[in-house]
């Protein structure tokens, strides 16, 4: 069964094509990484998948349901951090985590241990009682990921989860993502950090100009080289196609 699914999804922003017939699936137990240059459509794809954007065309599903209107039992198994996390600056770290636990469907009684466990798991113990507004950017990112994962989701979407993290935070998030996937969760991660992606992903999808332009095998020291070669090849083919379609060009 597919846990996360984008099926032939297209989306435009005011005439600009952001996603072009993108099809992507993530199975339970699998970590899929979405990589691409700025503006490639990664965040748009993740927003569509999280239900935050109704795509112009195509179908999106989380655990078999429309993400814009998930039933309680399905939503309680889903987590995401795309752009701003579920973190309020006026609340403390613990309060943010307890609020997130309640909104993920945990009872008041269950929210307390879930929040404590998340504090320990993400190394936030020294800041347990600190207001979120006083945290460093890296610790805010840790808190955001903790808020999205404290209910042990079966389907998880993370947009640039390690962008502000120190090496210790990167290792923590890597362990968290792999641990969730090993427990059966489907995880979709977008990232610019190719070496990081290479360490955690089972599959790497390259997105360019809103299109899926191919897959890269994780591992190896030449991932960056293979990525740029794929992007260049996509640009070359797109230019050739455009030339063929113009009057006077070969068809």
């Amino acid at each position: 069964m597919t846990a996360l699914r984008l099926d032939n999804v297209s989306h435009t922003f005011g005439g600009r094509l952001a996603l072009d017939r993108l099809t992507l699936t993530v199975r339970p137990g699998q970590v899929t990484a979405l990589i691409g240059l700025n503006g490639a459509g990664k965040t748009t794809a993740l927003r569509a998948l999280a239900g935050r954007l109704r795509p112009t065309d195509g179908e999106v599903a989380i655990l078999g349901h429309n993400p814009a209107d998930l039933p309680f039992g399905v939503a309680a198994r889903f987590g995401h951090v795309v752009d701003a996390p579920l973190v309020y600056p006026e609340l403390t770290v613990t309060e943010n985590l307890r609020c997130a636990a309640r909104l993920h469907g945990k009872s008041r009684h269950m929210a307390i241990p879930a929040a404590s466990a998340a504090v320990g798991r993400m190394g936030l113990e020294p800041w347990r009682h600190a207001r979120a507004r006083t945290l460093s950017m890296g610790n805010r990112q840790r808190l955001g990921i903790a808020c999205a994962t404290l209910h042990q989701p079966s389907a998880l979407i993370l947009d640039e989860p390690t962008s502000a993290l120190d090496p210790q935070g990167v290792v923590l998030v890597r362990g968290l993502v792999r641990g969730l996937a090993d427990a059966g969760a489907a995880v979709l991660v977008s990232s610019h950090h190719l070496d990081e992606v290479s360490r955690i992903a089972d599959e790497i999808v390259v997105l360019h100009a809103g299109r899926d332009v191919g897959r890269l095998e994780p591992g190896g020291s030449d991932l960056e080289q293979r990525f740029f070669a794929m992007v260049l090849d996509a640009d070359t083919r797109a230019a050739a196609d455009a030339h063929a379609e113009t009057p006077g060009g070969r068809s």
């Binding site: 939503a75 701003a84 973190v87 006026e90 609020c99 469907g105």
Partner: protein, 264 residues
């Protein structure tokens, strides 16, 4: 999990955010301290020999009549506008900041649906306004009791005035909820505050043109006598019920808009 559990969870989260909110803390302080002080103070000024010229003319309505009843009348008049403004600022923050800061996006795909979260926000705003109104009126009653005891005047008129102040304050607070919808569609806190200022100005224009009793934003103030005894007499139960209907209609509109929210 029971059917009401998601609403309970959202309510407790929103209530915590309200308790930590600078906007709510400031507004609470202004309502429960400034309104009673203003109510007692304006009556004291009106009955003081120092009130002469334009000030005396402006405060003529407070210069005579039962002392305690006049305190509570002033409280009702101030509250009818103050709760609208306080509530309007609060909902502008509560709803607008989620969309401005991007946390609204994180409210998608949760076990507690967005419509339930929006409903909880409205209920928390109403509960907060209700507590503020009750405390403000109670503080005014106590302050009035102290003043009337010192002057030896009767305190009997205070209770009817307190009822008027409670109703006017609650109606004013309920009228703030359409600004939750405005904050949602404009996705801007400042834009919502601009709308609030515009509505206060529009209400003045409507009253100046002689309308008002059927205009929900004017009816509570006119009923308390802010537009004079003739305008107050023209406001009856249907007009007040129309003003009271604004809160549930606005809540339904906000919940529906949050359910259909997209491109966040």
């Amino acid at each position: 999990m029971t059917a009401l559990a998601p609403l309970g969870a959202a309510f407790s989260v929103e209530a915590l955010k309200l308790r930590r909110s600078v906007v709510a803390r400031l507004a609470t302080l202004l309502l429960v301290v400034l309104v009673p002080l203003g109510s007692v103070g304006v009556v004291a000024l009106a009955r003081s020999p120092r009130a002469v010229g334009p000030t005396a003319a402006k405060l003529a309505d407070y210069a005579t009549g039962d002392l305690a009843a006049t305190h509570l009348l002033a409280c009702a008049q101030i509250l009818s506008v103050a709760t609208l403004v306080a509530g309007g600022f609060y909902v502008a923050w509560s709803f607008g900041r989620e969309l401005e800061s991007g946390t609204a996006g994180a409210l998608f795909g949760l076990a507690v649906p967005r419509g339930t979260i929006a409903l909880a926000k409205c209920l928390v705003a109403l509960a907060w306004i209700t507590v503020c109104v009750v405390v403000t009126v109670a503080v005014t009653v106590v302050a009035s009791a102290v003043v009337t005891a010192g002057s030896g005047a009767s305190f009997d008129g205070a209770w009817a005035g307190a009822r008027t102040a409670l109703v006017a304050g609650l109606l004013g607070g309920g009228l703030a909820l359409p600004f939750a919808w405005l904050a949602t569609v404009t996705r801007s806190q400042l834009g919502t505050v601009g709308g609030l200022v515009g509505m206060v100005a529009l209400t003045q224009i409507v009253v100046l043109l002689g309308g008002g009793s059927w205009f929900p934003y004017a009816a509570p103030s006119l009923w308390t006598g802010l537009g004079g005894p003739t305008a107050a007499a023209a406001v009856g139960l249907p007009h007040l019920l129309l003003a009271a209907a604004v809160a549930p209609v606005a809540t339904a509109a906000v919940v529906q808009t949050w359910r259909r929210l997209t491109n966040v």
